[in-house]
Symmetry: C2
Subunit: 215 residues, 2 copies
């Protein structure tokens, strides 16, 4: 069985919980701890201990002892497993407020996403830089992409441009789209789409708040 086949069977909820475990054990490391048990993780994260063990069973961890996992190895194994230690080249379309914000977020690089260029349709942005990342016109993407071959396209354009930008990215061979717009883009089979609409999260939070008010 290859590493890829192993990863294939991981449920999305597990993939979403593993970064929480990683964040917590990195915190422990910072406090000078050297070992952590799944019970300790479970307690801190408010997840069932058996769930933590199950989640961690997807990850290739060297024999766990009675004192638990060795924190240093757990961190590096989790980072490798989650793809955070690999360098994924990305381009970003739509250097508006959210797009420029993401170009400035150094956290993305730490988690394995390296945005190598921004693109926009506004001529006044052409040739500028945000956080040392160059910004070009959308139309320049094909010939720049031929040289730099990004695998991921980050989409932060206005809703009415989302599909056209997705089509452009896919036509040039970009295989994964990280869609921050509230628009449901359509892609051919074999292209990965990750939707992250922070405004949809706002709707959920507002609704729960209104329930508190109603009590």
């Amino acid at each position: 069985m290859t590493g890829n086949e192993q990863r294939a069977r991981i449920p999305e909820p597990t993939l979403r919980r593993l970064p929480w475990y990683l964040a917590f054990v990195k915190l422990l490391k910072g406090e000078g701890e050297t070992y952590v048990s799944s019970t300790q993780i479970a307690k801190e994260i408010s997840v069932d201990p058996s769930q933590v063990s199950k989640d961690l069973s997807f990850v290739n961890l060297a024999g766990k002892t009675r004192v638990g996992y060795e924190i240093g190895s757990l961190i590096s194994v989790l980072e490798d497993f989650l793809g955070f230690s690999k360098r994924h080249k990305a381009v970003l379309f739509g250097v508006g407020s959210l797009g420029a914000a993401l170009l400035q977020d150094s956290g993305l690089k730490q988690y394995g996403l390296e945005i190598i260029a921004g693109f926009d349709i506004r001529p006044e942005l052409d040739g500028t830089q945000v956080n040392d990342i160059p910004v070009y016109l959308n139309g320049d993407f094909p010939h720049l992409h031929a040289r730099h071959q990004a695998t991921i396209g980050v989409i932060t354009v206005p809703v009415d441009q989302a599909q056209a930008v997705a089509d452009l990215l896919v036509s040039e061979g970009v295989r994964a789209l990280w869609n921050f717009t509230p628009f449901r883009i359509r892609v051919p089979e074999g292209v990965v789409v990750q939707n992250t609409s922070i405004y949809a999260h706002l709707a959920v939070m507002f609704n729960r708040l209104s329930l508190l008010d109603g009590e």
Copy 2:
């Protein structure tokens, strides 16, 4: 039945889909359209038509005719329903790269979140402004909050400060926390937590990409 009780029963997946419908019908409006059917929305969003009808049945919509929903009313009803047309006052803790990015994102205000102040522990940020939003020291929060009464706290601090900031916000009576850190904060009953870890979404996207590579 009050509006709040009606909202109480809405499943989270519906709350997450409604903003997609909203984005699409706003797009149609921009193109000069005046009516839209649930079938048309379903086709565009790649959701089952019966699901769209069911989702929209949670929203108080005036009688739908054979031509479908009147777009103008649908937009305003959805915006009201999702809380986007209300003004929710918020404070943001952690004016680092992601925090500053959110302060600069004018989209949040359009969706009903008005960040009135940023807070940080770094003295050099005290008294500065980002996008005309003032930045203060964490310690100044209690007396400023007494005057301004934000209902939502946005958390973009480093992982090792997340719990302390959550505790501070809750102790001052803030009732909803929007947590962008990968740390699982703990709060007392009656406080809403919305986790939005964009890095967890990265993990899911990287995993799916690695499956493509494995094929």
